[in-house]
Symmetry: C2
Subunit: 231 residues, 2 copies
DNA sequence: CGGATCGTTGACAGGTATCAATGCTGGTGG
DNA sequence: CCACCAGCATTGATACCTGTCAACGATCCG
């Protein structure tokens, strides 16, 4: 396994200004002056698939912007099983609860090799206190938390297993720019749509047999029309 | 049915300063000067049980602070059924998405007679631009959206029907100050924990027979230990 | 005294969890 | 280079749970 690594550290203005995904990230609306208020270093992290960015109940001092890859937010249940309550991708913020609480609410675990920017909460609070330029982007991200949670609740936990898995595939495919998307393991699929691993496997296998789902080394792709018709 | 009514309208400082639940509401941290920035009237509304405060896709111009009663946030599904994605009580904010989007994401429907303060979004944006005193309370409310959604996802949509209903009763009981709490109708219980109305009814009836749940004209109460043991 | 609405209960078919066994594949070390 | 292993995916058999259809009871209100 590739080790978790810290590639770079820098102070705000030097690098954020040249961020290739600047239009997608939390700092999108900041002015040059605002960056001067960032006093602590921002780290650029590469995290190999399967590792935790942070864990539930840990001291929450950082927010993470996802630059590439995919992250699952996980809650463990008393009986030892787990539930995935959200998936994070390009431009999403992990650990946003650190802005309000003192500890993280979930485990954040990478599904693929993932790169993130680690931003100190202190800097964000400082910015929020001194400039109104962050407010809009922060609110937009909180709102995405809400609408994603709604999708989870309304589309991924209701109805028959086939319908739920179909909706998950449509969701995964929709949030990806290209034709191919990352297909989670069967246990994770089960933890997302609240079905057993075996039922997830059976359903995925059936979709493959029916030609609704294809998997290659580049990722998975789907027949959207067919999956939308499933009841 | 009691009609929906507007009791009072006032401009910020005159009344918010004397709000009996001031410590619980969005404006908790505002200073006297801040209130002077409220230019549009804030209305105090009484809404009878079963009425909509706002509906999905309506133009979102107001945020509502719940002063008493209970509200369900509802999403209708393509097949005509519905799902309750959150319950709001004292101090919660309904329509918080109006701060970021242009339309409401849910129907907000009162379960009991409910009183709310209707706050124009423009005033909140104005305050956010000019003072940092609102940020903390707003963030706390966004965070509650997240943690409530997590509870819904992790505790109310996983496992057997009995376990889900038991968790719902514990949730309802926990967020109430007194011994008694409001017990939703069977159809609503089904829409919260994603089971059929009949299964909800059977489960509630069984809990009553077992002495885990009691209903009186004052509301419902539970045997917490017994419900926590259910698997 | 109906009628409407909601809650309860029964019967049954179908779907899903569970337990279990068997493929499959990528990585490791001989 | 190949055998082996560990982890994941697939598939089968079965019991149980829950959705569905249906009927009936309770309560409130006009």
């Amino acid at each position: 396994m590739k080790p978790t690594s810290i590639n770079q550290a820098w102070n705000g203005a030097e690098k954020c200004g040249h961020c290739p995904i600047r239009h997608l990230v939390l700092f999108a609306d900041l002015q040059q002056d605002d960056f001067n208020q960032l006093h602590e270093p921002i780290h650029d992290l590469e995290i190999a698939a399967g590792n935790a960015i942070y864990k539930e109940k840990e001291d929450a001092q950082f927010v993470y912007t996802i630059r590439s890859g995919m992250v699952k937010l996980v809650r463990y249940l008393p009986n030892g099983s787990y539930r995935i309550v959200r998936l994070l991708q390009l431009g999403d913020l992990a650990g946003i609860e650190s802005l309000s609480g003192s500890t993280y609410l979930h485990h954040a675990i990478t599904l693929q090799d993932t790169s993130v920017c680690r931003i100190p909460v202190k800097d964000i609070e400082q910015l929020n206190f001194n400039t109104p330029n962050l407010y809009k982007q922060l609110t937009a991200r909180w709102q995405k938390v809400q609408s994603d949670a709604d999708i989870w609740l309304a589309e991924l936990t209701v109805g028959h297993a086939k319908k739920r898995v179909a909706n998950l595939l449509l969701y995964l495919s929709h949030y990806q720019s290209g034709q191919y998307f990352y297909l989670p393991g069967r246990e994770d699929i089960g933890a997302i749509v609240a079905i057993s691993t075996e039922t997830a496997s059976r359903t995925i296998a059936e979709f493959k047999r029916l030609g609704y789902l294809f998997t290659t080394h580049q990722g998975a792709s789907i027949n959207t029309e067919k999956l939308e018709q499933i009841q």
